[in-house]
């Protein structure tokens, strides 16, 4: 009887062990199966109209990658699960494509319904907003597929952008008197502006035009790059090639000339234009005098003049390539700059600045919301030194030139262009030549851009601007109130310094207000009782014993040097 009981117990134990073993094996198999399942990309391209960003639940934001900001909407990449969540909470959206694997998407400017119809016959098209379409095709080289008068921009793919919360639709701002309060005239900038030579600009354009074509992927484009590089080298400024590949394994080079800053060399002002060209007969003849030998010539002329000055911040003169293919050169540079955490203060991009369809011709400036300050500063500086009518437009959809990749990376950048929509009848044609250009207009725009760039880079002042500015911030809190304190430190300026002034703003690079009532004699300052949720920006000036005030130091954000 007893042995029978034992057997039963043994059987029970055995049964239990067997069950446990089965469960264990089942779990192992499940884990193996789940992990070995092919990872479905499940990524879809979705358009989300603006003004809804604040309704997006915070926990969903990391799952939504904004790949392109436009004037009225975001183009985002997300999953079908997140899409269903958006539907649940009533966020309006439009699915643009459901299978992203192996595709390259391009934004295309579509000025008319005829263009749209033509585009539809060439590949897949989704209208994302007025005059802006998303286009993709199986052909690897989209530039080769599209007719000459289509402007394109490849969608960023490698570095997803954070979905920024603040956004406003485009609005056009005419010249306003309040914007035009006279900037402090700097005689050194005046002198530089006066040195801009129409003859030099013409000769640069002629030289670039003489390469017959500068279509990226052709040897002539590379020769043109070498010509610019050699010119920078002759000027005695640091020059470098910035090589990159694009489309179906073509390669090209951006040409970079560097004028290191004296006070804060890690802060950079970029002056740029693309040197590659395009036409209906692009492999043989694409003179591209207006598009964009004019902008390239302006960069070269500015380099010639500005190399003789010393500035607080570094100036980079960049001639981009493969712009006509979809902004590949500038995209390459901007992505690397972001990865290297390059402190780019602002980018002045000149593209087509030589054709005047009417007189007097005005300059169109395009900025996005983040770059509005830069547009204002450009207008202020330009109007202080040059008689030029400027029309500024805030429009995030104006993405068809080399400023746009900088926008994508969060940098401030502007585009200076003769007209948009374009009025040049020779645009992307074989007769876009020097004789069609109004060189007086090109000279005036170059002068305005030089004034703005010099104003941004700041000719060294006496006394010297404070350098090595750092900012840390911390939040103090009680049960019901919190305040932020910013701690600023900087290096002492040389010479007879009586003290320092501290300026603060909550809008980067604009509306600085002095916050100290008397001169600060130490090289540190604590700014107490600030609103914790507001970002503050600071600049510091040095004041010498003769009560002369220096240039602003580099701008620092209140938490710029916080470690987390």
């Amino acid at each position: 009887m007893l042995s029978l009981c034992f057997r039963r117990e043994e059987k029970k134990m055995h049964f239990k062990k067997f069950n446990l073993f089965k469960i264990f094996v089942f779990l192992l198999l499940s884990i193996f199966l789940f992990s070995s399942l092919p990872q479905s990309s499940d990524r879809i391209l979705v358009k989300i109209p603006k003004r809804q960003e604040n309704d997006l639940p915070r926990q969903l934001l990391p799952e939504i990658r904004a790949v392109q900001e436009l004037d009225t909407c975001w183009i985002t990449e997300t999953s079908s699960f997140i899409l269903s969540e958006l539907e649940k909470i009533g966020i309006s959206h439009e699915v643009l494509d459901t299978d992203l694997s192996g595709k390259s998407y391009f934004l295309v400017f579509v000025p008319s319904s005829a263009h749209l119809e033509l585009l539809s016959n060439l590949g897949n098209v989704r209208v994302v907003e007025n005059q802006t379409c998303l286009f993709w095709t199986t052909h690897e080289d989209v530039r080769e597929v599209l007719p000459a008068d289509f402007e394109i921009k490849r969608l960023p793919s490698q570095i997803p952008l954070p979905l920024r919360l603040e956004s406003i639709p485009a609005r056009e701002i005419r010249r306003e008197e309040k914007l035009l309060r006279l900037a402090r005239l700097n005689p050194r900038i005046s002198l530089m502006v006066s040195q801009v030579s129409k003859e030099n600009l013409s000769s640069f354009i002629q030289a670039l035009q003489d390469f017959q074509t500068r279509y990226a992927s052709t040897p002539n484009c590379e020769y043109a790059g070498t010509y610019i590089y050699n010119y920078f080298t002759q000027l005695g400024i640091q020059s470098e090639y910035d090589s990159f590949t694009f489309s179906s394994n073509y390669s090209s080079r951006n040409i970079i000339g560097v004028l290191p800053g004296k006070t804060a060399p890690d802060c950079v002002v970029i002056v740029c234009g693309h040197y590659d060209s395009y036409s209906t007969n692009r492999f043989v003849l694409a003179p591209g005098a207006d598009d964009n030998a004019s902008g390239t010539a302006a960069v070269m002329e500015m380099a010639r003049i500005m190399r003789g000055e010393s500035f607080d911040f570094t100036l980079k003169f960049i001639c981009f390539s493969a712009e006509e293919w979809g902004l590949y050169g500038s995209k390459h540079y901007a992505q690397e700059a972001k990865q290297k955490r390059e402190k780019i203060i602002g980018v002045i991009n000149m593209d087509m600045i030589g054709y005047a369809d009417r007189l007097p011709e005005d300059l169109n400036l395009f900025v996005n919301q983040n770059s509005d300050w830069l547009g204002n500063k450009y207008i202020l500086a330009a109007n202080a030194y040059v008689p030029l009518e400027i029309q500024k437009t805030i429009n995030a959809s104006m993405t068809y030139s080399d400023h746009a990749p900088f926008w994508d990376q969060g940098y401030s950048a502007l585009l200076g262009i003769e007209d948009y929509p374009l009025n040049n009848p020779y645009y992307h044609k074989t007769d876009d030549t020097l004789n069609k250009l109004n060189m007086d207009f090109a000279t005036t725009v170059t002068r305005a851009s030089l004034a703005a760039a010099a104003d941004l880079a700041q000719p060294e002042s006496a006394p010297a601007a404070p350098s090595g500015v750092t900012a840390h911030s911390q939040v103090s809190s009680s049960l019901f109130s919190s305040t932020k304190t910013t701690f600023l430190n900087w290096k002492a300026s040389g010479g007879q310094i009586a003290g320092y002034n501290i300026y603060r703003t909550s809008t980067s690079h604009a509306n600085y207000k002095k916050i100290n009532s008397t001169l600060v004699t130490k090289t540190s300052y604590a700014d107490y009782f600030l609103t914790p949720s507001t970002a503050y920006y600071y600049v510091i000036t040095a004041v010498d014993s003769q009560n002369r005030e220096s240039n602003y130091s580099e701008e620092v954000r209140d938490d710029e040097n916080n470690t987390d």
Partner: protein, 212 residues
Amino acid sequence: MKTTQTKKSHRILVWTGIFLLMGILTQGRLFSEAQAKSPRFSISISAGVFYPLQESFRKLYGSMEWPGSFQINYKLSREVFLFSGFRYLSSHGETMIVGQEYMPENHPIKLSVYSAKLGIFFASVQRRFFIFLGGGASYNFYKERWEETPISFEDKRFGFVAQGGAEYSLSRKFSLVGRIEYSSIQTKSGSKLESEIDLGGIEFSLGLSFKF
């Protein structure tokens, strides 16, 4: 989260109302049972130690506060009493850094909480001991001030109290009171430290009671 707390506050008020109503409704029946000559009122003054339940409160002001209070009890029947009282809590502390600290920075702060409470308790008399247990609502005014700056915050909120304790009769008129009280004051306000602050806690107090 806020909706849950609003519901909780409503529930507290409803239960307090029911509690008071029960006491008032039973008053008539129980009056007859009441001893005609026994005192109907008692007033007690007490002081004690208050332990805040929220950690942020303790971090800023310490874990022991010393409030003072007085309470008037009105006998509805032998076992049922209405109570009403007032408590004042004042505490000094220092601000603290939330997140990354770059440099020590402490600002002196002061918190004052004024609470008026109304409720009902049930009592049981065991020889010289009088044991009670009850609850009610409180109306609270609180103010926090950064003492060396103009920064301050003040607001008013309803709360909830539950109390229990015992009285030991020293004589016909006087007795010693020991009381433990739980309170909750959900302010629906906060700071970077804590998004919603509860000023409630547990209070142990000792005092003297006088019957009349």
